[in-house]
């Protein structure tokens, strides 16, 4: 996981774990920022649950239920180790990043945010780390402030002193932009926020899957990410929170599993994390996420990061050869494996549609970041994103597809 573990990624061996790449010619899948592919070991871990010990957790007094509980809690341990959480019980399983952020907005927000308070966001936020805070502000009378980006797509730190005030109670910031790939210096933001007396929640949906994230080093108060963007299944996500905060927070959803005792008019609640995991959770998916953590840890997050940086650099070089292309965001060395672009005169939907006819999958649209689209003064962009299974050939096919799109769409001058 650390740079000392570095060894080059054996991409061909990795690709053999993903049946979707077995066809010829293989799918050039360049949309992992939206959702990744699933390797066999992850599917097999979930199959083993369904085939051999399928049962509910935490209650059954029989062998397979104990096994299911054990595997579910082992997944929690794996996640805790992955992000270096001080305690395993600081890991709460949710449905996805969005639900994790909403949990904080409803639970922490309901007792810590009042009229007149300020919540600081950035221009780079995905709707999942923006709309929950708008809704909280509307419920409480708090207001939102934004840290803006420079023309290079980096956070403008010269504004920090103006944006943070004595009213600032929370900073909600993405670790890596899902549109521009910008890697935000979370530690500096956390230091400044803490100095102003504010808490920090980090949207780590695009960072935890791609490089080593250490919550103790970042010193963030909350951190959220999704299983399906890191080789895991859909339906499971993670909220990390500092225990002293989680203990003080009221429950989010009420129901089974989150109680200690229930009377007709009042209940007492279970300890963290059970307090925040009402109802039967996504058991198979949590076990699958545990297997996904094993998978990317074995591949080596440092090796993955180097591989993705190399692909990003190569993609920048190739794409810049295309006439009329605009690539948004920072230079390759300042960002993660995400490239948003537009080609003059071709709608991004058409770019993606034509690439699809060549078995190249990219995303086109507003990427759930409409305020950022407005800031960039575009309606939509095309976006290619990379993961451990992508190759230089995938990028060559992207380049060839873009050339074909250009030929097709600019056959005659209008």
């Amino acid at each position: 996981m650390h740079t000392s573990d570095f060894r080059p990624l054996d991409v061909q061996a990795i690709r053999e774990d993903f049946p979707i790449f077995a066809e010829t010619p293989p799918l050039a899948f360049l949309d992992s920022a939206a959702s990744t592919q699933t390797p066999r070991p992850v599917v097999e871990a979930m199959d083993a649950y369904y085939d051999t010990y399928r049962s509910n957790i935490h209650r059954g007094i029989y062998r397979i239920s104990e096994e299911a509980t054990d595997q579910y809690e082992k997944a929690r341990q794996k996640v805790a180790r992955l992000i270096n959480a001080p305690r395993t019980d600081e890991i709460i399983f949710t449905r996805n990043t969005t639900e994790a952020i909403n949990l904080v907005a409803y639970s922490w927000g309901s007792v810590n945010i009042q009229q007149g308070d300020e919540i600081v966001l950035t221009d780079l936020e995905h709707h999942s780390n923006l709309v929950p805070w708008q809704m909280l502000a509307q419920r409480t009378g708090a207001s939102l402030r934004y840290l803006e980006i420079t023309d290079q797509g980096l956070l403008d730190f010269t504004q920090l002193q103006d944006v943070f005030t004595e009213k600032t109670k929370l900073v909600a910031i993405t670790h890596v932009s899902n549109v521009l790939g910008t890697i935000n210096p979370i530690q500096s933001v956390v230091d400044a926020a803490h100095a102003a007396g504010a808490k920090v929640i980090v949207d780590a949906a695009q960072s935890v899957p791609h490089f080593h994230v250490d919550v103790q080093q970042l010193d963030c108060d909350f951190l959220a990410f999704s299983g399906h963007k890191m080789c895991g299944p859909t339906g499971v996500g993670v909220l990390y929170g500092k225990m002293e905060l989680l203990e003080e927070m009221p429950p989010f959803l009420g129901g089974g599993s989150m109680i200690r005792s229930v009377e007709r008019d009042i209940s007492t609640y279970a300890d963290v994390p059970a307090k925040f995991e009402a109802g039967t959770p996504s058991i198979a998916e949590a076990i699958g996420l545990g297997a996904a953590v094993d998978y990317i840890t074995q591949a080596g997050l440092a090796s993955m990061h180097v591989h993705e940086q190399e692909l990003t650099k190569y993609a920048h070089e190739r794409l810049q050869e295309i006439e009329g292309i605009t690539i948004y965001g920072p230079a390759p060395h300042q960002k993660a494996g995400v490239i948003s672009f537009n080609i003059e005169g071709i709608h991004p939907h058409d770019v993606a549609g034509i690439l699809d006819t060549h078995n190249v999958a990219i995303r086109a649209g507003h990427h759930c970041a409409q305020p950022l689209m407005k800031k960039l003064d575009v309606i939509a962009t095309a976006r290619a994103s990379f993961y451990l299974y992508n190759t230089h050939e995938d990028i060559d096919r992207l380049y060839d597809g873009l050339q074909k799109a250009q030929t097709l769409m600019t056959r005659r001058t209008k």
């Binding site: 939907h349 549609g353 006819t357 507003h366 769409m409 005659r412 209008k414």
Partner: protein, 129 residues
């Protein structure tokens, strides 16, 4: 079948009835919230018959080509005939199969037309008439 075929591209590059009308009887514009494509339709109507039609806006090949083809189809038709145009009519007009996301691109022009003429707000094929 490839959706980027000659006929669609011709409509995209040289759209019919592109522009606006100075004094339209009906003028309406809407966007597709999925992708931000936006289309405006202007109509001149006499005795329930569409005498002239113009469209303008921005969008992908499918949404603009569909709008262009639709204007050709409705000129001279009655508003009642327009009301009866369905999702299937547009798909027949386009003539190639589309995935669910691109279907919305193809239907945007008809949605604008129906909303402008009748205040029907839903996507064609999904509306409660």
């Amino acid at each position: 079948m490839n959706i980027y075929q000659e006929e669609l591209l011709d409509h995209y590059e040289n759209p019919s009835n592109y522009g606006t009308l100075p004094n339209p009887d009906i003028s309406h514009e809407e966007d597709n919230p999925l992708c931000g494509d936006r289309i405006r339709m202007d109509l001149l109507v006499e005795d329930d018959i569409i005498k002239e039609v113009r469209f303008c806006g921005h969008g992908c090949t499918i949404s603009l080509a569909a709008a262009s083809m639709l204007t050709e189809k409705i000129e001279g038709k009655t508003l009642t005939e327009v009301k009866n145009l369905s999702r299937d009519d547009i798909m027949d007009m386009i003539g190639i199969p589309l995935g669910p996301v691109r279907v919305k691109c193809a239907l945007l022009a008809l949605k604008v037309l129906k909303a402008g003429a009748y205040g029907i707000k839903g996507w064609p094929g999904e509306e409660n008439e």
